[in-house]
């Protein structure tokens, strides 16, 4: 792992919609080369935090530095150093994979002399070379995700933000995406901030986790740290249940009748 230096540093970062605090005074430090997972129920504010950190959403208050630049004052520089895989499948279905990558390469003003090679390498790394000239609307979910990773890495950013990168994928495709995420970190030292509500993904893929609930960052630590806080034999499911007031196991939900993991936890 690269030397310890913060790549993401937020200080009381807050987003308020009307009177509703979607992200509430979040202070978080993420080191270079970490794979950091944000977990929390639907409506916890995961996407809101990621949208602020990718400059899509202006914070209501607080501040942050991303890749060494101030999030608000230096947004254009932040954008040049980050990649983003949105929660929605954002690759353009009406274009081929090659064309999607060409568009990204141009948006990031990658010089023409290295552009084609970059695109070809990206396609190869993410096992898309054979389908490069097919329209993306014919792709499987896993292929679209891999294309999106290729697109968001075309400029070799310092930080990659991924909002629920494996949602809707079958277990094989999911593990395949994990493999590519690890490969990125190992090869380029990319710092990765992802959100998930799959506890196996959180435990296996992430170096550290942050638990978000109702806009507040409840706890931060390695999966092992978080489990230890909750109890000697606790699993991440237990951590999730205790820290967010939800229970992932319906059979054991008797002491938690009010909540279930399927319900939307947005505060009334």
């Amino acid at each position: 792992m690269a030397s310890k230096s913060p790549v993401i540093e937020t200080d009381s970062l807050t987003k308020v919609y009307g009177t509703f605090r979607a992200a509430d005074r979040i202070s978080l430090t993420i080191q270079a080369g970490e794979i950091f997972g944000l977990i929390g129920p639907n409506g916890a504010g995961k996407s809101t935090l990621i949208k602020m950190l990718t400059t899509l959403l202006p914070p209501t208050s607080g501040s942050a530095r991303v890749a060494g630049f101030d999030l608000v004052a230096d947004a254009a520089h932040v954008r040049a150093h980050i990649g983003y895989v949105p929660q929605l499948l954002s690759a353009d279905g009406a274009l081929t994979a090659y064309e999607n990558l060409l568009m990204s390469a141009r948006l990031y003003a990658i010089p023409r002399v290295i552009r084609e090679e970059r695109i070809a390498t990206a396609l190869k790394r993410l096992d898309l070379s054979a389908s490069a000239d097919k329209l993306v609307q014919s792709y499987s979910g896993g292929m679209v995700r891999r294309l999106e990773i290729a697109q968001s890495m075309i400029h070799e950013p310092d930080v990659l933000f991924m909002d629920e990168p494996t949602v809707g994928l079958d277990p094989v495709a999911r593990r395949n995406v994990w493999m590519h995420i690890r490969e990125l970190r190992d090869r380029l030292g990319t710092t990765i901030l992802l959100t998930t509500h799959l506890m196996d993904e959180a435990g296996e893929l992430c170096d550290r986790l942050g638990v978000l609930n109702a806009g507040r960052l409840q706890s931060v630590g390695t999966p092992g740290d978080l489990e230890a806080v909750v109890g000697p034999d606790a699993t991440l499911d237990d951590v999730f249940a205790v820290m967010t007031g939800a229970d992932l196991n319906p059979e054991r939900a008797s002491d938690n009748v009010q909540h279930s993991c399927d319900s939307d936890h947005s505060p009334a």
């Binding site: 254009a76 060409l102 568009m103 141009r106 948006l107 990658i110």
Partner: protein, 259 residues
Amino acid sequence: MGRVAAYLTQIQAVADTEIRKLRHDPGELYTRALQPLIWLLLFGEVMAQVKGLNSSGGSYLEFLAPGILAQSVLFAAIFYGIAAIWERDLGVLHRYMVSPAPRSTLVLGKAISSGVRGLTQAIVVYALAFLLGIKLSFSPVDIFGVAALICIGSALFSTFSLIIACIVKTRERFMGIGQVLTMPIFFASNAIYPIDIMPRWLHVISSLNPLTYEVDGLRNLMLADGTSKYGLWLDFGVLFAVTAVLVAIAARMYPRLTQ
């Protein structure tokens, strides 16, 4: 990459993407050819019987053809706002917005692709007009002038549409307001009748309407013996100035769509 080269490449990223999509699926171009056909054949032939509709001496169809060209360009361009909302809903727009491309390059890229769409409309209208026996000017300078007018008019109205999309933000609301805006732009212009026969208040509105200047320029350049009321300098000047202002506004507002 130098700043200027980067800026142009970023415009190209958006414009070329749109043009590639048109090439993959050109269906919309054919369906869009129907509207001008209907206007010229049905509306044109009937209204040609009405006296007083034509101040310029030629036939009414001749008067109408540039108006219908401007109309088909307007209707194609107004589609851009809803396309932007659509792109937001799909997540495609997020990809633009997290990139370091200046927002003005994104707006200009869309404007240019709208110009390309407009040019395909022009080819259709020229073909129809030719078949209907309208005397067109085929001098290279005039053709180039028409192409320039089409591009700038498309850029203007697509950017206007983008601004509306940034304000209303949802497809449903855009559908509602899109109709409400397009009709007055079209009818409160010189597209299908001369401004001189309008009541005073409408006359004023029409002379503030950019479409009027587009049609005016087209009447001069498209027809073999065309004339313009305001002069080409004013026509181009108004269209350029309004487009520049709209692009500046749209570049500021575009990020709102993904918030």
